[in-house]
Amino acid sequence: MSQRNADAGAAAASTSSTAHAQDHTDVPSDPALRVKALESLLVEKGLVDPVALDVLVDTYENKVGPRSGAQVVARAWVDPAYKQRLLDDGTSAIAELGFSGGQGEKLTVVENTPSVHNVIVCTLCSCYPWPVLGLPPTWYKSSAYRSRTVMDPRGVLSELGLDLPDDVEVRVWDSNAASRYMVLPERPQGTESMSEADLAALVTRDAMIGVAKAASPPVGGDS
């Protein structure tokens, strides 16, 4: 507990003095104070149990994140039967590996191939598959990504560093309703003899959103 508080303090000190300060120059420590006041009010009124709050913070800070999704992808790459189950019923296949919880009610996994590229967006808010990817990055929640991805997916992907050939079919998934989506990226070339654990290390969060491809194996890493 004290160690985590110390870590949180260190994180606060580092974020306020680095790149983040440039992103939100008009928002200093004021929101932090307002949130603290709200939290103590809700605790005082008995509406929130502070221990439950710490459990939630710990869960989403330390336990939930894109390494879970990467394990799912690596399993699908090495196990064709699992891959089929994953594409047929994402929720159940992902639960097989122990991942479930909020925003995972209906998980749909869509497969990237040499001829089809899938990309995920939420135009109305920020819907995102928490159990496999954690909480969404800031750019995914940006007005520009939300507004442009549905209308000009190729332009957005190119801006993010992914140029797709004209003959590749682009499928945009607007996750507005019951389902949350995850992209199953293509397995990179030259990874035939890699272990499942090493394969998982190639799977980036952004590849599972569909704005990047899975990383190439390190040179000489597959010999």
Partner: protein, 213 residues
Amino acid sequence: MNGIHDMGGMQGLGEIGYKESDPGFHEPWELRVFALVQAMRSGGLRPYIEGIPAADYLRMSYYERWYTALVTQLIESGVVSRTEIERGRAEPASAKATPALTPAVARELLFRTPQTEQHIELTPRFHVGDRVRGRNIHPTTHTRMPRYTRGKTGVVERDRGVFNLPDSEPVSAEPKPEHVYLIRFTARELWGEEASAQDSLYIDMWEDYLEPA
């Protein structure tokens, strides 16, 4: 409602600000707001986020919107008073509540998937392969139908099952279960001849959002 949050297809909304290793939150208070919303178990915050005036919505950071929406919801539902929010202290005479979320349940949340699907038999109005059109409706309340789908024709790809229509929340306590369909729209149908001929968009739509085409 036709709010600022309904952004699909808008232009001029600034930079994406892409960073490859961008984390889900940057400051500890952002995660505290996130946790407070979960701990209150107060249900849908989206209508309150969408109720933020457009100029404020665009100026606020993501978790500032969450904070604002949570406070609005707490005040509107009578759980806290505006005075209490301003003072950061409970009214002396106010009753002590029971927390909505215990630590034990909080620990289990990670392993428990909430069930939103309604397992009831309803005759679907549409079937896989049907051509459907987004209805020209403009609800003033919460809706999950983006305006870019209105008047556009697509094809039913899948029947998702039965879910409560979100448009009735929070205006009505009476849930309205309906079939939800995965619809495929071609990029050209949505965005015109300049869009790529082989690209498409997939989106889930409640039955109320659709009509036969």
